[in-house]
Symmetry: C2
Subunit: 295 residues, 2 copies
């Protein structure tokens, strides 16, 4: 068997984003955590962590993290049958990668009954919907919500439904930047709001209008900040309808052009041998999203 003391130290350093906090979370000294990582590296004959801030797992480190995730889920099943085996009494944690817009809209309501029934707490890891799978590949999360359908080897993916995005701005912004009769190219000069470097929705919207090339934009990696910047007349951007139903009804936000919305499909990725707990969460999510997402 592997020496799980060493693997748990590795997982703690990555999950807690540092040796100091990893030591705290494990109730060890920082030097004890360092020694465990060094011992693991000596056994493997190669590094498992890049000592950056925060520490990054190497390729082999990622594979080990993946393995720890899966063992934890299997342990949980066994614990249901053989109580008392678990060392600590803190509730089970599930680490899940998802996009910020899901966390800000449909996710909490969909997952709440599951957490309450099973006494599970969640570590949410935010990633844009096009790249969330890399966290799962990296072994940092047990499951992932993202826009990519194709599952990783050893995993399953299921269609959850789509989120509908509309290109919106405040009426004052539209009056200032997009005068009636102005050519559609005016959108390239009018500042946009983009969630982050991985957010391609604004690019896709412009491309659908036949517009290419660089455009002026603010970067705002916060779903709520994004909507507040729109309301402060600072830009236009693509927002989930779910998030701004009140603002659309009151006219505080309006469509910049009468264009097609963009529907972003969301898939639920989970390890095939992820245990009973992950299976139960999967079943519950499939039911809950029927009302919340577009099918």
């Amino acid at each position: 068997m592997f020496d799980y003391k060493l693997l748990v130290a590795l997982a703690a350093v990555v999950e807690q984003a540092g040796f100091d906090r990893a030591a705290q979370s494990l109730g060890l000294s920082q030097s004890a955590v360092s020694q465990r990582i060094k011992l693991l590296e000596a056994r493997l004959g190669q590094p498992v962590l890049l000592r950056a801030a925060p520490p990054q797992p190497t390729e082999v480190g990622r594979r080990l993290l993946n393995h720890v995730q899966q063992v934890r889920l299997l342990e949980r099943d066994l614990q249901g049958q053989v109580p008392g085996l678990q060392e600590s009494r803190l509730p089970e944690r599930l680490r899940i990668a998802l996009n910020s817009d899901s966390l800000a809209t449909w996710w909490p309501g969909a997952v709440a009954p599951f957490c309450t029934r099973h006494g599970v707490v969640l570590d949410h890891v935010l990633e844009d919907q096009d790249v969330g799978l890399k966290r799962m590949r990296a072994g940092e999360v047990a499951a992932c919500v993202c826009a990519v359908e194709r599952p990783l080897a050893g995993a399953r993916s299921e269609f959850l439904g789509a989120m509908r995005y509309r290109a919106l701005a405040s009426p004052a912004y539209v009056v200032r930047h997009l005068k009636p009769g102005a050519p559609v190219e005016a959108l390239l000069q009018a500042p946009a709001i983009v969630f982050g470097p991985d957010d391609q929705l604004q690019h896709r919207y412009l491309a659908a209008l036949g517009l290419k090339g660089a455009f002026s934009h603010h970067l705002c990696p916060s779903s709520e900040g994004f909507v507040r910047l729109l309301q402060s007349d600072l830009g236009w951007g693509l927002v989930p309808e779910l998030q701004v139903s009140a603002e659309l009804a009151s006219g505080a936000l309006v469509d910049v052009y009468s264009g097609e919305p963009i529907d972003v499909p969301l898939y639920w990725h989970h390890w095939r041998n992820g245990g009973e707990l992950l299976g139960e969460l999967t079943r519950q999510l499939s039911r809950a999203v029927r009302q919340l997402l577009i099918h």
Copy 2:
């Protein structure tokens, strides 16, 4: 003079979080960007980047990035006096580190008139209020909103005001987990919501009630997600009053104990020789926060 082609390549790799996107943003091939970084490292005789994903600046890399930030701001001043000097026609970008709760509440309204008047777009970099300064020390941002008063060498800090946080939960959560007459220790068993590993507000609230030690918690690195998890009866947590005035008024969220709120002071940090633009932003923020934050 330094060779700014090389420094701009370094800045692009860090700001765009990768060689590939850095190349795109500079209109170069990826190998051209790599060569510039290698040439810079050959001249310095030491690495400027750790090749992690995303690439991290080394100590000397950070000093160079700091320098690039300040030169950019000085160039902007000169450009006002000597138009036509600027190579590209895209609007000026200011990179600013701030906490998610500021971005989700008072920041957009406070900064909007400045952006509109000066045609500036913003890159927001999210960091918890206790650690935002590290982004400025790392040379990644021109200014920073954080809870630490002491400025870096070469920088100034100004008090903006305080954000008031209250420990809140949904009425259903309170009924389920915090029965009337239950001892205050019940809070340690009732799941909390914590923004991320750097968020110590829940710890401080528990410590003020005389409670110590580990407590069960969800991690949710999204301001809007945080409030939605509270409303989905999943936990208690400290939320800015500014963000939930409607929920407090309607009774959708209530205080978990009649305890004192926590006021988090916010300071504005900016480089002393940061140029006229940063000076103008500083003046405008000081005016705008008078209505928005607690003094």
